[in-house]
Amino acid sequence: MRRAFDVDHPESCTPPRGRMPSVPDALTALADALDADPPAALADVDPTVVRRLADAVTAEQQRQAEAADRAVDEALRVVPRPLRGVVRRIIVP
């Protein structure tokens, strides 16, 4: 499986400053974010736009993952004590 966002190397998802992304680079970034090859017609789109889309996908995936982590703690705080053990066994992987 492709890695959508490398938290240890976030710069891997961002083109070097001052350089326009090439079409292949942008399409590769989008394919990585989607974990699938995007439609071939995207090769005709400005690579800056394709790269922006790829970065937006990885950023949204990252936001979701972080929100899911926070939700575990919040759920255990909200659930009444009698149900907490059952819920903890389900949501703590």
């Binding site: 699938a36 439609p39 789109v45 736009v49 950023a59 929100a67 939700a71 149900l83 992987p93």
Partner: protein, 192 residues
């Protein structure tokens, strides 16, 4: 009438929290490719962290609907709730929806793909759908509303249209893509 390619770009932009203007030129891509791209984006966003969403569904299965609704609002928030809703059994989802206020349901509606929750939308009381529709109209979420129209039963459509003013319906109509639904909406407008 707005070109279907332009509507797809707006949907794609909303999914990844970009302004459509930031996707300049994307509307030149053939419609079927844009639709395929949106499906890929939906899969990348809805199916990423699928284990976490499934665990949330399991929690909803062991707590009362009122508690599940509280967890949806307090712990998950609208984005994660949208992901989880798509995996929740219809009956449970409808029970939880009955405990949520329309404003929060509207928050979730903006984040969900209606095609993934059609069974739930069909099972919701028309009055609930109309109440959420009013909130979305107040917020000017015309494309979200238009996308939900396809999932509504005729009764829910009638109830929702009745709850909206003419201006709101006129904002939604150009965004509808299904000719049959456009005809239904026009007929309901003419009945006023």
């Amino acid at each position: 009438v707005i070109a279907p390619e332009e509507l797809e770009v707006r949907r794609i932009a909303r999914l990844v929290r970009l302004d459509p203007a930031e996707l300049d030129g994307l509307a030149d891509v053939p419609l079927e490719d844009l639709r395929a791209l949106r499906e890929q984006l939906l899969a990348a966003l809805f199916d990423a962290n699928a284990d976490a969403w499934q665990r949330a569904v399991a929690v909803a299965g062991v707590v009362p609907a009122g508690m599940a609704a509280k967890l949806s609002q307090a712990a998950l928030g609208p984005v994660l709730s949208a992901r989880v809703t798509a995996l929740t059994p219809t009956r449970k989802a409808v029970e939880i929806a009955a405990k949520l206020d329309p404003a929060y349901m509207a928050d979730v509606a903006v984040e969900v793909d209606p095609r993934r929750i059609t069974d739930i939308v069909v099972a919701l009381p028309p009055a609930t759908i109309a109440a959420v529709g009013r909130v979305l109209a107040d917020r000017g979420e015309w494309l979200v509303m238009a996308d939900f129209v396809a999932a509504l039963t005729p009764e829910a459509l009638r109830t929702t249209i009745a709850a909206l003013d003419d201006e709101a319906v006129r904002q939604i109509e150009p965004l509808l893509e299904d000719e049959d639904r456009i005809a239904e909406v026009r007929a309901l407008l003419d009945e006023r």
